[in-house]
Symmetry: C3
Subunit: 463 residues, 3 copies
Amino acid sequence: MLIHEDRLFPAESCARDLAKALYASIKGLPIVSPHGHTQAAWFARNEPFPDPAMLFVQPDHYVYRMLYSQGIPLEELEIGKPQMNDPRKVWRIFASNYHLFRGTPTRIWLDFAFHQLFSLDRRLSAATADLYYDSISEKLRTPEFLPRALFERFNLEVLATTDSPLDSLTDHQAIRDSSWKARILPTFRPDPVVDPEFAGFAANIAELGQQTSEDTGNWRGYLNALSKARARFRFLGCTATDHGHPTPQTADLSTAEAEALFGRVLAGDADTHQQELFRAQMLTEMARMSLDDGLVMQIHPGSVRNHNLALYQRYGRDIGADIPRPTNYVDALRPLLDRFGNEPNLTIILFTLDESTYSRELAPLAGHYPCLRLGPPWWFHDSPEGMMRFRQQATGTAGFYNTVGFNDDTRAFLSIPARHDVARRVDCAYLAKLVTEHRLAEDEAFEVAHDLTYRLVKKAYRL
Amino acid sequence: MLIHEDRLFPAESCARDLAKALYASIKGLPIVSPHGHTQAAWFARNEPFPDPAMLFVQPDHYVYRMLYSQGIPLEELEIGKPQMNDPRKVWRIFASNYHLFRGTPTRIWLDFAFHQLFSLDRRLSAATADLYYDSISEKLRTPEFLPRALFERFNLEVLATTDSPLDSLTDHQAIRDSSWKARILPTFRPDPVVDPEFAGFAANIAELGQQTSEDTGNWRGYLNALSKARARFRFLGCTATDHGHPTPQTADLSTAEAEALFGRVLAGDADTHQQELFRAQMLTEMARMSLDDGLVMQIHPGSVRNHNLALYQRYGRDIGADIPRPTNYVDALRPLLDRFGNEPNLTIILFTLDESTYSRELAPLAGHYPCLRLGPPWWFHDSPEGMMRFRQQATGTAGFYNTVGFNDDTRAFLSIPARHDVARRVDCAYLAKLVTEHRLAEDEAFEVAHDLTYRLVKKAYRL
Amino acid sequence: MLIHEDRLFPAESCARDLAKALYASIKGLPIVSPHGHTQAAWFARNEPFPDPAMLFVQPDHYVYRMLYSQGIPLEELEIGKPQMNDPRKVWRIFASNYHLFRGTPTRIWLDFAFHQLFSLDRRLSAATADLYYDSISEKLRTPEFLPRALFERFNLEVLATTDSPLDSLTDHQAIRDSSWKARILPTFRPDPVVDPEFAGFAANIAELGQQTSEDTGNWRGYLNALSKARARFRFLGCTATDHGHPTPQTADLSTAEAEALFGRVLAGDADTHQQELFRAQMLTEMARMSLDDGLVMQIHPGSVRNHNLALYQRYGRDIGADIPRPTNYVDALRPLLDRFGNEPNLTIILFTLDESTYSRELAPLAGHYPCLRLGPPWWFHDSPEGMMRFRQQATGTAGFYNTVGFNDDTRAFLSIPARHDVARRVDCAYLAKLVTEHRLAEDEAFEVAHDLTYRLVKKAYRL
């Protein structure tokens, strides 16, 4: 058996029994996935997923990052190629190195998918590589494994994608126009047009102007264009924006200052500090627009993108070499909070890659400001231990009700049920511990388990 | 039952049994409370506490901070008003939102007080709000619930308050002059006269001069005045000072430099850097005076005060919007330690709001310098998990004997027994874990439990 | 009994039973000690160790640091003296204060040595001080307690020392020349000749020139000299370098810039920033040389050395007053990684004194770059809790196979078996937890236990 029915529950029997009971009560709840990186095109087209290597290895930087760290060249894994020459060979390399994932969440997610979706029950290894490859390939060609069928099988109530303001959203429109009534929503991620360091920044802004019939060469036109783009997203069900800035720095410049700064960044004359100031100002502008149109803001700061210069030059963004950096929220968010922090109708969900901020900054901020909520453990921190640390470090000050349920944040569609399953189990384990240590009554634990799994996410993301 | 007799003990039965035995051995020890924010006036006047809302909601920023974070306006809670118009309505709002406190230490403290003091055994909720309000109100009018009666019932051996150098201490004097022989001591907190950013700084210093008949317009007179104020506090039993600076920065300027800097801050001409330098210098001056008069220093750094500008402008200080910031001790303390770090007769107790410093800086510093001791987890970190993290992260390098027992640090008098009870239970749980993992002998655990509860605090605070 | 056979295993019985089984399977493996501070002279000369105080108190800054922190003057402990006047008196002070070590790893290591090596079974205290002193003294005079006999008894397969490039290595040569075939290897630690702040820096470089017949007054000659010194170490079995810089800052200057900078630091004209830049450049130079000669690099950053000025002035370096500081890896390592980060034949082992970097920076870096591996918890963090935190915080992203087994890092030869025993037990406890929570299969746990204890260290250090 690849997975055990009691996985991730505490070993101590009273706590385990209670964790199991809690989990049983929320196991059947639909999955609400308000933040992730799947592709609407999969569901618009509903074509079969390709082979196992293209499905499990190529899109998942958790997977090839680990293989690369142990000296396996990305070329051998055929990363970044639209089609693989020899996917079976790539799969065999992966299978032969599966032991590298021991102790990691990637291993848990993969075993879950192998077992639950593909009914495999021997461990992946060099010896079983071909068995896996053939079994998975065969299943992928069946109707039950088409994207829409899997969406339904996964019991997904909502699935949000992440999209550039320049995206045509035709795939989202196509899903709406189809007879298939699934709730797949875009998320407004304006980094390409608000981050002066984003490749093609000025061209992106020009394109935004064309799309919205606004003169994005000036500050007012640029803001109007963003506002129109947001409206276009909202029309297709979007309820949230997402901001992947290097830091959570915010600013509150006068219109004249902002106008002048915009001119400078657009002309490419801004230095590093001015680029950061522009991003900072744009967070506050986005908050202002959110007060108007109701979109929930997500701030995902703290990653040094493209840390590996050689790989970036060869493969471009998102190739597994983003590394977290210490992040300060208490000073960075102040300009925005001074302006809008007490607005009851604003929701800003904060994420972090710096766990030292959970108890020091994030829980105190979210435990005070009405507009702030804490996003779940993210990226490098979505392991069972990482999730447990989040609850242990944030709950004392922020409680449960300033948190917003789970984000799977994945590019790997097949890992969605596994990731939500892990989050649900860890929350049940945490609650079981509180009850067995007589810090929470049992009836309350059942209610909180339901809240964490379902109600809080729908409320926070306005779904 | 609101509270369980085994609460906060480990679920595993061997460890739980030992934790219970350890706790039984120290449960009856008197409470020594060397740091807190209760008011001497309560005990000087010995008048009944007002209604439940004025007792539990208004003074406790842990409580209204959480309610505010979920969108309940402070106006509805009648925060900051000398008298409430409708305390029952405030209480009902609190009761209806009691679920927000699930998983927080506030919930543990409140349930303890409700159960132990007011014999309530149904959970607080909208349904029980009036029952609670009436039961508590009735009891508060009885002699058993007068401040002095509660002080005795709580088995308080020492209770320290926190006081401005300008405070007349007449309430402390009145207690001394009364026939009631309780040990209630002032603590010398000079922030109003050593922090140039404190509201009314120059006027405070002028008043200090008048009170002490010193010319506080010059450096020497200012130092003399502080020395005299300290003597006045010591005369009423004070054994400690307390310093709530934004950072633990210290300095060791020449007399000429210090004199010039004092002139600048007093004239209001100092910039932010000079204000910080003045606070830094004053920590070293306070250490020097402590070597003379024996007062123990407490340094409580790391809080960004009044983070929420709108609330500060409306309500003033201490309204629940102080947020921790990363804190560096290793460089900041060096000037003071270079001067006095090896003095055997100096005691400086360090606190933190940045848990990442426990193992990295604080335990190594306290595990080396004879003058340094570690204060218990403070403020946002006094949850059961926070206390456990402190022991887990500090003990390896600092041991138990460079720590100083527990501080309740509370404004909520009725929470004192609950807070000490939590600390005692968590320490016993930690010790039980050490014993069941065969890292400490059982007889030693009993001795350490007693030390942590009683002996270390009396020794460190010279009580 | 001072030590229990189940020490450090989880209290819960299923996890404990499995931890015991895992431990039983790796208990008999030889000790590979690739990083430490024992002295080759002990094994070259094979003379009896002196008395208990010279053996256990004087060389172990973990021990006298704690005593000093509680007000015991170093003079009373006769620290820093080549011979003690009254070692029995020093021992009695230590014994009388043995309770200070409760809860610390030092206590575990000492009890292990007392029990396993000296068959003592009553606890050390004032009452047993003389019994201990006499028993240990007597045993130290027997052949079984000579350094080489202990080396064999400890089942040491490899023992690495740490040595200045200026060291003659005559003791290592003498061991090689003897009939005793133990594998004791030097480690190349160039701090005295690459850190401009090291006492005697310029003189050290001059001496390096003499030893290598290179003109170390110029950049090229200096690099040649270092290269020759490395070759001399390799000839005696050295497989690794070690770098104890204040920060992990690296640089990649042009030859002209590096040459000019070298001139400045050699002339003593460099400011603090330039000194740091020189150290930074030298890490990159060392990496370049490692690509040539295959030496594994160890980077041990983050310690503020000689924090206690008065003790440093009196006793010199390494007297127990080094304090960690926050450490940034993500920016600091970038210049070196931009140059060599993707080299498959380079190994750089990163250590930290800042636990907040485990999950934030170190695991993501080691989980991506092929040249990076994570060293075990170091110095203030080698407690059982510290080791457990390392696994809990690093494994999710870096897995097990980007780690390198255990370093004892000790000056106290007799503590080597105890320290490895603790590491093995904690790893088994961690693995047992993974298995009982169904996150790792039992057969895999046995394999990983063996890898962590033996195979990974040999592979990473190229032994």
